[in-house]
Amino acid sequence: MNLFSPQYSPDPCYLMPKVLRVLLWTAISLLGAFALATVALHRGEQINAMWLVVAAVATYAVGYRFYSSFIAAKVLAIDPLRATPAERLDNGRDFVPTNKWVVFGHHFAAIAGPGPLVGPVLAAQFGYLPGTLWIIAGAVLGGCVQDFVILLFSVRRDGKSMTEMAKTEIGKLGGFVSYVAVISIIIILLGAVALVVVNALKSSPWGTFTIAMTMPIAVLMGLYLRRIRPGKVLEASVLGFVLVLAAIFGGQWVSQSPSWAAVFTLSGATLAVLLIIYGFAASVLPVWLLLAPRDYLSTFVKLGTIALLAIGIVVLRPSLHMPPLTRFIDGTGPVFAGTVFPFAFITIACGAVSGFHSLISSGTTPKLIRHEPETRMVGYGGMLAESMVAVMAMIAASVLQPGVYFAVNSSAGLVGQAPETAAATITAWGFPVTAAEMASLAHAVGEQTLFNRTGGAPAFAVGMANIFSNSLGGQAVMALWYHFAIMFEALFILTVLDAGTRVGRFMLQDALGYIWKPLGRTSWYPSILITSGLMVAAWGYFLWQGVKDPLGGINSLWPLFGICNQLLATVALCVATTIIIKMGRARYVLVTLIPLGWLVAVTFTASYHKVLNANPRIGFLAHARQLANAGADTRLIFNDRLDAAVAGVLVVLVAVVLIESALEWTRVLSGRKAAEVREAPFVMTRLALEEQP
């Protein structure tokens, strides 16, 4: 059987007799149910990480085999005979019919960023159970569905973007709100992830040196690709990776040299300024010099490290020290404040449901799809793979002793600056840890301290170093593993920063072009400088506010980012629901309506709490009032009010889209408006027929 044939079934059991298939899927379902029950009901002794892996893999397998094929056949009526835009508009550049496994790899590399690593680490403060269940169920019933249907709808509309589909299917307001949501999410995302890097690198000469070195390495790669071996990107990436490994080794020497260590020991504020300058430079410099090679290097390291982590967890099968539920489900958590509902569900966006994916599913990917049925594997399957990465991040956080986890992730404003005070506070919460234990761990990973390293990245790095050092090299190389993990996270966060700044810059140029035409010219240098400056100033402001926040910044920025991301998913699911109704498939509308309803409940409740909750650790306005009463700096008060305004405005806009969508559904269902599906006209595929075995 031809692997690339459209008739090829991704289900390896396709050729089995029916009885065997039924038995196999019954066994997988029972195994998954048993593993999920073990994860959910186990109390007392430690649980092995493999239970989480088995629960996830079995659920994903059943979800993919049955739920996604139900959606493909009944809801979307996928047509193997319909030519895709990649076939019809093939120009060898934007539209290229590509093998499904290749598109899968391409799509996965674009959707998997720092989010599925950071979110689960932060949500582990509730225990491993709420986050794990949300990652698995959210992905199978929500995130994968969103990515799959948006991808298919974009394929049927010649690769139209999500904002264009929102405009044509819901109305002009839908398009406008999607645009505002996208730009807001980019700004807040960049501010939040930049803060993660700052918190990971502050007072860490080893980490700062390694990351600083990735910039000349990227430039070197760019020059190698342009002058020495044109187009040999894999070769240049391997070379870059070897140099990055050398930089990690060199970082150890730097951290031990008193003079060099002083140069690379930077405060949070200094790092923030440097990142802002970097973001601006990366946006205005030619793509080939910095952005493209960094992107290649980061993707290379990302794919390799994720594979390594997966192998490490399966081979080493570590035990989880974190309990399934902690006392912090009541909302008093030190990592971020807020009860398990709704905050666990907005903290983990990427890995469960991420609105940002709808931009990728309606960006490059639909222009590469060769046959309609392949959207199932790329859209639904790609999100399952990202969800698995999130489960691995949850495991990495949960293998840590809870006392260590909370010592790393709690801000100084909450547990105290002095190590003894912080250790005593955390021990009093019921999670024993000592200052000596933390000092020894910090020494083992080559850091001056591990207290108050909020943001998720250091905790993930300690967890990953812990897993690997148990077999590969032992305690002697724990510091190398830790700094490898920090480099890996910071590298692709910086890639998100420079790519995001550029994408935002182009969006701003497109919008400002309506006001004054020259500003819309993407190659006009004054326009590049102005729009890059505006983008960097916007996310830089959020970064700066996070650095100056006495509660560590992540407490306010990450929930805000989660809310924006899930609100974008709400818009995407509104678009999907509208199209399903217009296709005359209203009886299956629950497929998108259930995740949509859940996201509305989660995001609107979370926004309400973040804006109006009377607890100053949760509500922005309550915190502003508390600061005002204490006579604090007016800038801090303004920051809280700004965060409240951002959350409030976005919720109002998305509520308007919801109402507009609901009105459109009513009009179509009652027959007052003709159900007009704005798909590209049907053209019979030639590729599928040519590829018949």
């Binding site: 550049r93 290229v96 496994w101 960023g113 044109p230 793509v287 290379f300 991420s354 182009f506």
Partner: protein, 86 residues
């Protein structure tokens, strides 16, 4: 071809045995080769090597710094507009 010890059979039978061995080896290797081929193809697509090859074929030029320059210039806007998720 493997060295055949004396007295193990006629040349025709030996050829048959060798053919069977090769068929068995290729049956084992075939899925592995196929997976590796797809893996390399995916990596080449992710890292834009395939896009560069398509560009060379479309422009009917051979690889050179100047051709790579043109390729980068052509794809610059598309690449810079490509979002990377969080």
């Amino acid at each position: 071809m493997r060295p055949v010890p004396c007295g193990t059979g006629s040349p025709a039978r030996e050829t048959m045995a060798a053919k069977t061995d090769r068929a068995k080896a290729s049956a084992i290797l075939s899925p592995i080769t196929r997976v590796l081929t797809v893996l390399v193809a995916a990596l080449r697509e992710i890292f834009d090597e395939s896009a560069y090859e398509r560009f060379l074929a479309r422009s009917e030029v051979t690889s050179s710094p100047a051709a790579y320059n043109d390729f980068l210039r052509e794809g610059e806007t598309a690449k810079a507009r490509r979002p990377r998720c969080c």
